[in-house]
C-alpha cells in the first residue's frame, strides 16, 4: 500500500514557506492567471523604464522617405504617416500610459480614502454632505467627466492625470466608507477607546489599516480602466498633446484614414492597450483571491 507523506508533499509545494521567494513561488503556482498578469505588468513597467534602450529609433523623429512603411526587419511594427517608427512610439507610449495609470489611480485612491474614511468614521452631517457630493459625481459617466475636465484644463500630462483621478474618488470613497462603517462597530475599536486613544488616532491606526485589502484590489482594477480612459481621451483628441506618443492618440490618428491601407498603425497600439488592461485585471483578480481573509490559511 502506497503511503503518502503529506508533510513532504506540502513542503515541496511550498505551503509552509513563510516568507520570501518560497511563499511567492507557492502563490504563483496556485494563481497561474494572476502570475501571467503580474509578468505582463512587470514587462510594461520594465519597458517604460528602459524605453530609451529598447527602442531602435527616436519616437519623435520624422522620416518622410519611409512614410507608412509596412512591418519589416528595419521597422518591426512599421512606420506611421510621418515616417515615425511605431515600435519606438509604442515603447515610449508605455511611459505615458503607466504615468497616467499609476498617477491617477494613486491620486484618486488617496483622495477617495480621505473622503471615505472621514465620511464613514464621523458619520452625521459630514457623511451626509460627502455622500450627496459623491452621488452627484457618480451620476456622471467617468469618461464624460474626464472629457469636460481636460477640455476645461487644457491637454497636458498633469491635467490628464487630474481629470482621470477625480472621477475615481467616489468609487473609492464608497468602498472605504462602507468598510469604515462596519469596522467602527468592531469591538477592537471600543477596546482602543478603552485604553484612552483619540478618535483620529483610532481612525488612522485601527480602521484604515483594515481597509487596505479591499483598497489594493479596487486600485488594481481601476489601474486598467484609467489606462483605457487615457487612451479614450487621447483618441478623442483631449489627452496627451502631440507629438508625444500615446497609444490612444496613435489609434485615433490612424483609425479612419489608414485602417485599410496600413492596418499595423491600428493593430499594434490596440494590442498594447488590450495587453496592459488585461494584465492589470488578471493581477487584480488574483490579488482579490489572495487577500480575501476567508481564503487565507
Amino acid at each position: 500500500m502506497a503511503t503518502i507523506n503529506f508533510e513532504s508533499e506540502l513542503r515541496r509545494a511550498g505551503a509552509n514557506a513563510t516568507g520570501g521567494w518560497g511563499r511567492l513561488a507557492f502563490l504563483a503556482q496556485r494563481h497561474v492567471l494572476g502570475t501571467i498578469g503580474l509578468i505582463t505588468m512587470l514587462l510594461f513597467v520594465l519597458t517604460a523604464i528602459f524605453a530609451d534602450v529598447i527602442s531602435r529609433y527616436d519616437p519623435l523623429t520624422v522620416d518622410s522617405a519611409h512614410r507608412l512603411a509596412a512591418p519589416s526587419m528595419l521597422h518591426w511594427f512599421g512606420t506611421d504617416s510621418f515616417g515615425r517608427d511605431v515600435w519606438s512610439r509604442i515603447i515610449h507610449g508605455a511611459r505615458i500610459s503607466l504615468a497616467v495609470g499609476i498617477g491617477s489611480t494613486t491620486l484618486g485612491a488617496t483622495l477617495g480614502v480621505i473622503v471615505g474614511l472621514t465620511s464613514g468614521y464621523l458619520s452625521g452631517w459630514v457623511d451626509l454632505v460627502f455622500q450627496r457630493v459623491t452621488d452627484i459625481l457618480q451620476s456622471l459617466p467617468l469618461l464624460v467627466l474626464a472629457l469636460v475636465m481636460t477640455a476645461a484644463l487644457g491637454p497636458s500630462l498633469p491635467n490628464v492625470i487630474l481629470a482621470i483621478a477625480i472621477p475615481l474618488i467616489p468609487t473609492v470613497a464608497r468602498v472605504i466608507r462602507a468598510n469604515t462603517l462596519a469596522l467602527r462597530e468592531q469591538p477592537f475599536v471600543e477596546a482602543a477607546k478603552s485604553i484612552g486613544m483619540s478618535e483620529t488616532r483610532i481612525a488612522l491606526r485601527h480602521v484604515l489599516p483594515n481597509t487596505i485589502a479591499p483598497l489594493i484590489v479596487l486600485a488594481t482594477a481601476q489601474l486598467g480602466s484609467t489606462i483605457l480612459t487615457e487612451a479614450s481621451l487621447s483618441f478623442l483628441g483631449l489627452g496627451i498633446p502631440e507629438p508625444y506618443p500615446s497609444w490612444g492618440r496613435m489609434l485615433s490618428e490612424s483609425a479612419a484614414e489608414y485602417v485599410r491601407t496600413a492596418p499595423w498603425l491600428v493593430i499594434f497600439p490596440g494590442i498594447a492597450i488590450s495587453l496592459a488592461v488585461f494584465g492589470t485585471n488578471l493581477f487584480g483578480d488574483a490579488l482579490r483571491d489572495i487577500l480575501d481573509p476567508r481564503q487565507r490559511g
Binding site: F188, A191, A192, S194, G196, S198, H206, P209, N210
Partner: protein
C-alpha cells in the same frame, strides 16, 4: 504608593443615572445606582441580560454611545476625581491609565492587522513617555506576566495566530500595562471554553491581588461570583436590588430575584434533587425598560409578590448589617431563613 492603604476606596459611584433615548421612548438603563470599590477588592455585578450591568461599566468609562445614551445624573469618583466632570482629553488620559476594561469577546477585541506587541505598546505609549524600545520590552514583560509562553515570539504574532484564551490573556496584558487603579472585566470568560475560563479568572484575581487593583467583575454566572468576589451587587431592570458580601448573599439571599437566580443554577439542583429534576427558572421575562410597572419591576414575575409590590417601589434598606435589599418582604425573608 499602591500598597499604602489597603482599605482605601478607589471608586465611588453615587446615584448614577444613564438613560437611552430611543424611538420607543426614554429608558433608564441605569437608575440611581450607587456602589464603591476598594483597593484590591473584587465587586461582582450580577444580573440577567439587559439589567444594566454593562451600561454601568460603560458609564464609569464614559464610553456610553451618545447618542442615543447619556449619563444624566450622579457622580463617578475615581481616586478623588469626579470623572463625569472631566473634559474629553482629560478622560482619555484616565482611560487605560487609571481605569481599564476587559471585554467579553477576545476574538474580536484585538485589531486583526496589528501585532500583539504593538497593540500593548499603544496602551503604554499613550500614557507614558517611553522610547519604543522600552515600550516593546514592557509589552513582552506584560505578556510574560499573564503567563503567555515564549512572550518574545508571541509579541511578534498577529491575533489570528493566538487561541481565544491567549487573546484574552493579551487583552489583560493590555489592560494592566499601565497598572490601573481599577479594572472592569465585562463577562471576561463568557466566550471562552470552560477549561480556559477557570484559568483566566484565576489569572485576573492573582494579578489583581498582586497589583492591588480594584476589580469590578460583571457576570451572570453566580459560580464565578462565589469563586472570586468579596462583595456582590445584584441588578434588575437598571436598579440595584441587593448588595451584600459573597458569604451573606449565598447564605441568606434576601431579594426574591436573587433567590430565583440561585435556584436556576444547575449545580445546585444536582446536589439536592434526583437527577431527572427539571431545571428551575424564573418565570416571565425582563420587563421592557420603556414601560416599567409602577411598583417593583420584579413583582410580575415574583411568587412572593403582594399588592403593595405592584403599587410602590420598595426602598433599598439595610435589612441586616452590610446587607441591603430592595424588597417589601425582605424582613420576612430574613426571619424565615
Amino acid at each position: 504608593m499602591s500598597e499604602a492603604l489597603p482599605a482605601e476606596t478607589v471608586l465611588e459611584v453615587k446615584n448614577l443615572q444613564t438613560v437611552f433615548f430611543t424611538n420607543s421612548g426614554l429608558f433608564r438603563a441605569v437608575d440611581d445606582v450607587s456602589f464603591s470599590v476598594r483597593r484590591g477588592e473584587t465587586l461582582a455585578i450580577v444580573g440577567e441580560s439587559g439589567c444594566g450591568k454593562s451600561v454601568s461599566a460603560l458609564s464609569i468609562m464614559r464610553l456610553v454611545p451618545d447618542p442615543p445614551g447619556r449619563i444624566v445624573g450622579g457622580s463617578v469618583t475615581l481616586e478623588g476625581t469626579d470623572l463625569l466632570k472631566l473634559d474629553d482629553a482629560a478622560m482619555r488620559a484616565i482611560r487605560g491609565n487609571r481605569i481599564s476594561m476587559i471585554f467579553q469577546e477576545p476574538m474580536t477585541s484585538l485589531n486583526p492587522v496589528m501585532r500583539i506587541g504593538d497593540q500593548i505598546i499603544e496602551a503604554v505609549r499613550l500614557h507614558q513617555k517611553v522610547s519604543s524600545k522600552e515600550a516593546w520590552k514592557q509589552a513582552v514583560d506584560m505578556l510574560r506576566l499573564v503567563h503567555i509562553p515564549e512572550p518574545e515570539r508571541r509579541a511578534q504574532e498577529y491575533p489570528h495566530q493566538l487561541s481565544g484564551g491567549m487573546r484574552q490573556r493579551a487583552m489583560i496584558a493590555m489592560a494592566l500595562a499601565c497598572r490601573p487603579a481599577l479594572l472592569i472585566a465585562d463577562e471576561p470568560t463568557t466566550a471562552l471554553d470552560v477549561t480556559i475560563q477557570a484559568q483566566i479568572l484565576a489569572l485576573i484575581v492573582d494579578l489583581q491581588q498582586r497589583l492591588g487593583t480594584g476589580l469590578i467583575l460583571i457576570t451572570h454566572d453566580l459560580g464565578v461570583v462565589a469563586q472570586t468576589a468579596q462583595r456582590v451587587i445584584v441588578m434588575y431592570a437598571g436598579k440595584k436590588v441587593e448588595e451584600a458580601t459573597v458569604e451573606a448573599l449565598f447564605e441568606t439571599p434576601l431579594h426574591p430575584y436573587t433567590r430565583g437566580l440561585m435556584a436556576s443554577m444547575p449545580a445546585v439542583i444536582a446536589l439536592g434533587a434526583e437527577s431527572d429534576a427539571r431545571l428551575n427558572e424564573i418565570p416571565g421575562m425582563v420587563p421592557s425598560l420603556t414601560n416599567l410597572p409602577p411598583g417593583c419591576a420584579f413583582a410580575p414575575r415574583c411568587k412572593f409578590a403582594i399588592d403593595r409590590c405592584l403599587k410602590e417601589y420598595p426602598p433599598l434598606d439595610e435589612v441586616k448589617s452590610n446587607h441591603w435589599a430592595a424588597c417589601w418582604r425582605a424582613g420576612e425573608m430574613l426571619e424565615a431563613s
